[in-house]
Symmetry: D2
Subunit: 172 residues, 4 copies
């Protein structure tokens, strides 16, 4: 640790920053909340979209989530501009399934609400519903790279679902 430190955002500032960066990549909080609602509705009777939006926003206000999101989106954007050194440039641009570092960042996000989020993350990353599939499917090529983004969205949705699962039980 060093005494001269930069400012990494948390709380409301982190949430706003995440929201802005996600919107810059065409992803709205409502899109992620829709996935959370589908995931948790079978287990939480009466769950509505407003509670899911609130849960996604709570996840995005965590410092480590924000840092993972900013780092992943930066790597995607740099790959689009050809600004990464080879062979990393090709690996990220073509979303090599054996790269693994996109999953590593996603797991740091999922971890925030404990291990029960892992199942949902894996499921979303495989089935790719809603905005996850849309981001994953819009192509990997010189103009577009979302290697990190689809995993990170799935991770935020999985964490928000885990947060609801914990909270629902806690308020009984």
């Amino acid at each position: 640790m060093h005494t001269t430190v930069a400012h990494t955002p948390a709380g409301e500032e982190a949430r706003a920053l995440c929201e802005r960066h996600l919107e810059g990549r065409g992803v709205r909080i409502a899109d992620i909340a829709a996935i959370v609602l589908d995931l948790q509705r079978p287990f939480v009777p009466g769950l509505d979209v407003a509670e899911c939006v609130e849960s996604v926003e709570a996840v995005l206000s965590k410092r480590e989530v924000c840092n993972a999101l900013l780092t992943g989106i930066a790597l995607d954007t740099l790959a689009e501009r050809g600004a990464l050194p080879e062979p990393l440039q090709s690996t990220v641009l073509h979303d090599d399934p054996l790269y693994g570092i996109d999953e590593v960042l996603a797991l740091a996000v999922v971890n925030i609400y404990g291990s029960i989020g892992f199942t949902n993350f894996g499921y979303l990353d495989k089935v790719k519903p809603g905005i996850v599939g849309l981001v994953d499917g819009r192509g990997h090529g010189p103009e577009r790279c979302d290697t990190f983004l689809d995993d990170l969205i799935a991770a935020v949705a999985a964490a928000a679902a885990a947060r609801i699962a914990h909270g629902h039980r806690d308020t009984r």
Copy 2:
């Protein structure tokens, strides 16, 4: 670390021990290999069941996998006998979805071949195909507890699939 240590098995000894404990709970290596084949067939043309059996056996020969499996099965068995202290006894016996420690042990298994196994683990744990569903569905009650076992089987299958994915690329 201590100088007087017990012997934790690895290699062929670990594999044999895992196989014996799995069979004691009604799970055969062939059942797990069938799931691996379904997972990886779309990505690996010509993959056959023999290669999947070999991959499951390689996973089961890893020391940390064997230790996770023995620990999880011991906790399931102790819960069946009512031998765990409360409130842990009730938590494990009823497979409380917020317990989380079953997923923690499973993740230690998945980790062995890097982060690309997480997606398959989550998918298997949610969709519960073949032996995973059979184990999960055979009931949780005074006579039967498989709280850890279904997650561990899914984790072994996910790790074996990741191992094939890595190896297939490596042999090019």
Copy 3:
């Protein structure tokens, strides 16, 4: 997930349960707080023991922390009574350094406040200051087994230190 679930504690109930189980093994919250104070004092001017006690209690009120603690202490206690099946019984009783599952449970605890706790956990687990060393050193044998407990205490201290590090910055 199943519809009939047991009750896993969280919040104040979890904290009280953890405290009782720790005291049953000779560990007081003040002992853990003392380690947290030593860890964070160089980085947080004016930090006092009351704030460290509060942070340890906050960590112990998390459901996943409580579940990890209850599971680890149960395995230690069962090993003392010779109630685990072999070869797990010998592995746990003799604290085999290659067992690894004690670290796996500890990491689930450390994870709760993100990745910055890992450094402190590893340091505490190696240097074994205060209560960590006392628990680790009181012997492994037929009458006494603390294979999980020393790692779990180090993990709780590391998580409480990470929580203070995050909070100190957040309140600026």
Copy 4:
């Protein structure tokens, strides 16, 4: 997963790539091996530096290790050139202790040989012996950024030490 994939290196190719990138940042394999020797000598009588070099090289030949190393070094280098978007640029350049993503990549490396490497990683990251301290201490500023590199070196050393611990027992 996508059918058109880039080539991520593994095996001998990965090792050579890692070695070149490390040397480009002033780190030699012998420097890392020296740390491994200090870590494991108390536990492995007769351990010599050649065996430690071989273990470090084995770690560097793993695909996920190579990908983590290339990604971390790329982020360090981009930060030196001011090429990251804000606020990430400031966070990485000044090695903010609450960033956390450097530890996340390091943990992906440590994971490769199971959970027993975590203790050594945390210890090295805190005590910063040899090359870890040298890299950490050479300053963070407009011309120099090693935010990821010091954690990654500590992680490679910890993984190589865990590999020796496992292997030493396995060959008995």
